[in-house]
Amino acid sequence: MTESEFAWLCAFLRRRSGLALSAQKRYLAEGRLGAVCRRHALPDLCTLVHRLMAGDRRLETATVAAMMTNETLFFRDSYPFASIRDLVLPTLQSARRAERVLRIWCAAASSGQEPYSIAMLIDEVRPILPGWRFEILATDICDDMVERGRTGLYSQFEVQRGLPTRLLLKHFTRDGERWRLSERIRQLVTFRTHNLLEPCQHLGQFDLILCRNILIYLDRPTRGTVLDALHRQMRPDGFLMLGATETAQGVSDLFEADPNRRGLHRSSIAGARAVRGETVMRPAALSSAPLRARPSVPGSAPRPPLRLVTRTTANG
């Protein structure tokens, strides 16, 4: 692959997925796309790039999918789920008590472990939220990942990563060498393919959006574009959960981070103004206002957490 072909490939990936591939990561492209070549019986990467240049849609999809990092596990990092259990759900329980509907979007769901972790968490609170409807939308750019998530089938290795044994026994059954998630949990989650760079208004509005460990792969302008799009789909008093090493700070004025909850963001004052259609001024001073000082966000006052059973063992 020549320098100009590599440059074209980088531009293609940026355009199609927002992936910012630097020259230092050329080895990554060569490794992952070499597998695409072998799978599609192409002699080399040059041929692949030229087929992409010619607009081969099948190879475009395969190339973008191969370059995505699909690393995921159940209850990854654990702290986001503690924040959702202890702050997000109690806040929304109060704010949505009239409509009794919660909509959650896992915007980079990979093979489904994250949305299913949320679903298992929701299942724990169902008894104290009778009559509520929960909708979890799981989207990913890769068709293969979406299809895998839909099956609810996981290997022994996958269920050992992050999933407490109590929940394994409660929600999974053996299916040959794999584990099948119960219909009760699967029916909470709807999977569909979606590229975060494409319009998402048709997905509707959400009370909680998780977009974890995807912004780190995007360049700064694309990060801003994605965050703007997520803000449009987030209800004014909703929540955004980013990854452990990600923040909206310095990228988008529409969000402000909760200083006490890693990854958790809410709409900033500038974001609230944007929702109302007002001109958004550079909110350097405004965005430093603490989250709890925003009267426009209902339900943000501290509330007693929901009483959730997070783990139960025979000895307590």
């Binding site: 050992q160 990563r161 407490p164 044994t165 394994l168 025979a314 000895n315």
Partner: protein
Amino acid sequence: MKTCLVVDDSAVIRKVARRILEGLSFQISEAEDGAQAMDMCRQRMPDAILLDWTMPVMDGFDVLRALRALPLGKAPKVVFCTTENDIAQITRAMHAGADEYVMKPFDAEILISKFHQVGLN
């Protein structure tokens, strides 16, 4: 320093587990069967036990039952490990008092995550 008793009749498994758990700052002791493990527990109760299921003399299930029958101020966390992923066996172990389950062969990431899950960071 937190203490962990690694109970397995395989010296290789004990060696691998020791290496991983020392990385979590555990002081490790070893037993090669259930009876030896119970003797060691009666002398000094560890904070955690990595417990094999199938062993000579006294298997993991018998150890769990004996352990949970002891009058303990603070019961150790028990992660049991097995080569089987049979639901009935996992359920039996959890009901007998295990806190977590891990299937062999395990790697460092999985074993560490299991210890984190039971609150042993």
